[in-house]
Symmetry: C2
Subunit: 143 residues, 2 copies
């Protein structure tokens, strides 16, 4: 799965005429080894710990490329940091965001996805992507 994603990114890069660089390979490896919703700063720190030479700007630039390639998706929560999550082909999930402990619970619901398509159809709208975030308190924090 990780190998497929690397291939997919390499195809994207090739198609765009981008050069293959050590930095991008490293950042891709580390990004793929993380879990959901990592912020740029967090990823940068991870990268720096094993590769002190890699600069922050490169991490920013590279994550934007990942998003452009479809490998990652930018998400904006309310803490002022852009986060990136993994995109799994043919799969979409949404988020329950706990405002108590900042936990993020993922869920999938096909019915909601289909209803969105209906709505878009009704408005003559062509869907590229979507984002559903439900804010509140998780089972632990509501007590």
């Amino acid at each position: 799965m990780i190998l497929e994603k690397k291939k997919a990114f390499n195809s994207f890069a090739a198609a765009k005429g981008l050069r293959s660089t050590r930095q991008r390979d490293i950042i891709l490896d580390i990004f793929l080894s993380t879990h959901q919703h990592i912020s740029v700063e967090e990823l940068y720190l991870k990268v720096k710990s094993s590769n002190p030479g890699i600069g922050q700007a490169t991490v920013y630039r590279t994550l934007k490329l990942f998003a452009e390639s479809g490998l990652a998706r930018e998400i904006l929560l309310h803490d002022g940091q852009t986060r990136y999550e993994h995109v799994v082909a043919g799969e979409h999930h949404d988020h329950l965001v706990c405002t108590g402990c900042n936990a993020i619970i993922e869920f999938e619901d096909e019915t909601i996805e289909n209803l969105q398509k209906d709505i878009a159809l009704r408005h003559g709208f062509f869907i590229r992507s979507h984002k559903l975030e439900i804010y509140g308190l998780c089972s632990t924090c509501r007590i």
Copy 2:
């Protein structure tokens, strides 16, 4: 309706022990006279045109208060500016965001709302609010 909202905000302010000021009254009036999704900068410019003395920081501070009072809601799109929309009690709408022309189309769908409640229930999650944004191209831009 506008009057009710003003009263609601005044109650909130009173309960919080905030003082009533000319600036907040003016900003509230102007905010209530606008349509959906105004950015802080946009509102500040409107405010400044009729009241040049009012500073930007006051607009930022006041909009945060509006959000806290439940009168307004912060929304984050992908242009790096925080926007505020009007909250209408007992009503919720979501957004179709056109990435071509930045138009925002609102819609309401009770079924989606109910499905969200089901999902929350399944996860033992208590919902405070939610946000659904569908990105793509509107009927004009898709052509």
